[in-house]
Symmetry: C2
Subunit: 529 residues, 2 copies
Amino acid sequence: MSIIGKNYIGFSQSADNAKTFQSYVPVSDSHLSEEFHPATPEEVQRTMQLAEKAFDEYAALPAAKRADFLVAITEEIMAMGDELLERAHQETGLPMGRLQGERGRTVGQLTQFADLIREGSWVEARVDTAQPDRQPAPKPDLRKMLVPIGPIVVFGSSNFPFAYSIAGVDTGPALAAGNPVILKAHPAHPGVSDLTAQAIVKAAKRTGMPDGVFSMLYDDGYEVGTALVQHPHTKAVGFTGSLKGGMALYKMAQERDEPIPVFAEMGSVNPVVILPDTLTAQTDSLAKTLAGSVTLGAGQFCTNPGLVFTVESPALKEFEEKYAEEVGKVTSMTMLTEGIRQNYFKLRDAALAEPEVETLVLSDEKVEGENQSQASIARVSGKAFMDNPNLHEEVFGPFSLLVVCKDMEELQAALWHISGQLTASLMADADEAARYPQLLRLLSRRAGRFIMNGVPTGVEVCPAQHHGGPFPSTTDSRFTSVGRDAILRFVRPQSFQDWPDSLLPDELKNANPMGIWRLVNNEQTKEAI
Amino acid sequence: MSIIGKNYIGFSQSADNAKTFQSYVPVSDSHLSEEFHPATPEEVQRTMQLAEKAFDEYAALPAAKRADFLVAITEEIMAMGDELLERAHQETGLPMGRLQGERGRTVGQLTQFADLIREGSWVEARVDTAQPDRQPAPKPDLRKMLVPIGPIVVFGSSNFPFAYSIAGVDTGPALAAGNPVILKAHPAHPGVSDLTAQAIVKAAKRTGMPDGVFSMLYDDGYEVGTALVQHPHTKAVGFTGSLKGGMALYKMAQERDEPIPVFAEMGSVNPVVILPDTLTAQTDSLAKTLAGSVTLGAGQFCTNPGLVFTVESPALKEFEEKYAEEVGKVTSMTMLTEGIRQNYFKLRDAALAEPEVETLVLSDEKVEGENQSQASIARVSGKAFMDNPNLHEEVFGPFSLLVVCKDMEELQAALWHISGQLTASLMADADEAARYPQLLRLLSRRAGRFIMNGVPTGVEVCPAQHHGGPFPSTTDSRFTSVGRDAILRFVRPQSFQDWPDSLLPDELKNANPMGIWRLVNNEQTKEAI
């Protein structure tokens, strides 16, 4: 397949805008030849009208048909083979192995959602049968299930060209639930976005989906995203990126005549706390594990461990030396964009220049090419950390600050200065952890996922995953972007009172034709009524 | 018990403010003698600090202890006997029978939440066990459940002195989930609020709850409510009232440094659509049923049917006459406050004065006393309705507008002008309803609860209830204020990765000591691991 560069408005292509932009290749600081056309306001309007029109038909399809569509997307993506991976590699600088893994995760996510909706119990069906003779008033028949809400706008993210972009963690569950999806492609990888959009359109046509179930628009500025979020047909927004970007969309959405939810994942410093006995027992392995996590993928993960807390202890010096040694030998990587690299060095240098911050190591193994990262770790005392809000913020990239507190009391005081996080990690065995119940509560209050003896990088895609923490790590800590519950962002419950069985959705019919789990008169059952 | 009139800051009482206000008695347009002290900024601060302090201890209590507390509240409320009902009757003008029923519902709600948390499956536990040998990377052990979020601010509402006030639909689930609750008492019924707060404090002490698990503050203005919503310790807000009031709180909460959810139920016109064959078949009974629903409780319900849609048909004239006759003989009732009565007559008169609006009947049976309502219905054509946005808004009180469309096409066009609603009703048998799939979708999109052949008044408290519709009927259509799922407003999911079994919450332990339903490796089960 070749890259088209036009906006995908449902099954049509459109390029009204004379202005274009091109793919940036970070490793060579150059541009590729294809031209991409930012959508015009008229194209946005056309897209949203088509999505709204498609909604009723798409939402009414049996779940099995929507599952076929999701599976077809995975097939079309895989059918593109290495062409897709190579384009992603060019546009992001990410290694082929990582991209292959990310593609696998993306296809896996879509397959999980196909399985989820085929099985059907995810709609949380509840049935309370009528009691016509109840005194003083009869009880009606009430049935409830989750239903789709309408067109969903999704922003592709720069650091995951597959898993958090065109066919990623927002698109999959939004489509699975029965909502049309409108993508705003990230300008950092328009080519891979274009190819993926072609795969989705092909899958939609092949499985008989309504025109408008999926659209994708380009922009290298903010106009298209703004118009999409403000459009009255839009019912929710998915976004992964910076705090600034997420909050801009969030505020925009709240200021609409009809406020809508924005699920923005906005960054996190993912504190790691190492208790002293554990530091002593596992000095070397902790240093290695942490160094690997801090530098993984040039630190370009929302789960990068940006702050590591521990206390003065005899093992500390050896740990610091080993940690510095491990980080020091990390080879540099191409960062995603010129802007991300510049921002990384700016924020890192600012952090290193703060009072009482001592650089532990700056890695020096360089590879050829532009836009290279440099892994860096530093150390600061608990007191200096508490006194300096500049040190509490995320530095996106392979940087981490070791906060050395004088004792456990100071460590807990320092944690009060940490805001909401995607994750928190505690390095401790059960006995040592149990000695600090207040510390466990402190970390719990601040984290969406609380890890024992593990690093935050690596987000398993499974039902028990919660990838979403208290503000400001996300705009809504009640929802996850990873795992089956990600679908709950794009639905609402609806009750049906005294409906004739023939008109009810299958999930709520007496016979339970889908054989799903339901709460019937307050009992979990798969039985018919 | 006697009324104290001081703010309940945890287990202490406080009345720093020299300014006071008194209970208004609507039926006699007079005031009672007791004085209530609005909270000062310092009292608000003290209250929130105490709530924050209580949170960790309260959240860590076993669910059975919290259930004991909820049951104790019901016992203390019932122990107050008629004194509580009589005070409510004085302050609201609502009939004793209604208040007795509402008290029963309130106690029933609390009991349902006690049962829910004792059983325990509501936490939506999910367990994915580790696969240490998985390739290419081991799979960690992940477990997830819903956890409480912190202090919840609840605004008492004017129209339900029990069920939506101090111990009502927000307080019950917030406490059940493990959150401290801070009430802002509604100034329309401070005495019944005071007595209920005493009952809750007594129950909290008797069952060994931490000081600060519950507080209640007075105000007859907006300062206290504003300070509570803006306070950094507040993690969510529950409100039932006007669109203006709800949106003011919502915007305030979004403008905080840390935005928090506001669950505001703000009003609804609850459209009722009568299909022509059904109008013909059930002319008299429909007229009676509707008249009863429009005038119930002087129309002071969020589920009052403010708009009734039908089409020109031979049975229409007879229906209108019967409907007018039934509404005409309704006896007037005391309205809740002077302000509500004035607003009712102002908005009703404005609606009746709009072009092409024809008054069908104004009831004339008056009872003695001040603040009396007057049931009123009017009629307008579909076209005039569509052309006039003033007719689309709620008139809080016993008023309803019959919109007569020239055919089903116009009726469906008219429904496009209706915004989000708590409920929609369709009067039709299965065959007639099935002829209008587009109409079903139109109503579905707009309603939280979709009723067949029934009126919207009467909100059954049961698991399948969804009392919460698309904006602007509520600020968040994903959550209900009635039924067991109301608890979902006051929690967030949290994942525990690779935790030692001994430190996990009981709900997630291998042995499943609470015997709850869990999703274990993607299968629903009560089995241990």
